[in-house]
Symmetry: C2
Subunit: 133 residues, 2 copies
């Protein structure tokens, strides 16, 4: 799908419809976004179901409103399951689906790749000041 040419440039071959392409980009953007990524990460570390409050405690800085929204979106995308136990007070457990786990591994892989290159990124940030007008 992506090949490096011998002149150092890259070639991208696409076999998707525009709709599929757009959908894949959207999923990529969602899965890499701050809150979904952190929520999935917490659920992966838990290695099992977590109650709403436990997730809220562990995802530092998130509000319960945004956590609710994030979990609902993840559920709608099939990345997380929501299980309601009709007790009083209610108990709701969230867990990563296998698909969510696989996606997370891929995203974390990219994140680690970036982390390994951080020195390069820092070095590349405006080494001199050549580009002023």
């Amino acid at each position: 799908m992506v090949t490096e040419l011998n002149d150092g440039t890259f070639d991208f071959c696409e076999t998707l419809t525009d709709a599929e392409d757009a959908l894949a980009r959207e999923m990529l953007e969602r899965a890499s976004a701050k809150w979904p990524l952190r929520v999935m990460h917490i659920l992966a570390e838990a290695k099992g179901p977590l109650r709403f409050s436990r997730v809220l405690e562990r995802v530092e800085g998130i509000s319960q409103k945004v956590l609710t929204q994030t979990l609902r979106t993840l559920e709608a995308d099939g990345l997380v399951t929501r299980t309601l136990y009709p007790q009083v007070p209610p108990r709701v457990e969230y867990e990563l689906t296998p698909l969510g786990g696989e996606l997370l591994v891929e995203v974390v892989g990219l994140w680690q790749w970036i982390a390994n290159r951080l020195p390069d990124f820092e070095a590349a940030r405006k080494p001199k000041g050549q580009t002023e007008n």
Copy 2:
């Protein structure tokens, strides 16, 4: 860094400071975002420098204000070079850096992974309606 355990769960081992971790997440989020990704993609396909107007034409739907912002951010992150030729009217060329090209290959790899799994994502989207309150 990421290992799948034999019980099907995953283990994440981190050796970064919080600051490095946050920076890597930020770069991940930026590189996966809609406009930066599309701009980098166009520049990669061009296999060489492109003038501002050419990029503007090829990135469908972007406004020149946002394109300017996007290119400046990519430049500040060392993913794109900006070369000003002091003519009248001015000529400015943008080109992917090697680092930008490498990052793009990684991001596009993830994007292609998602694209290959699109049937799974579609199948996982609310197959029945079990989770109503």
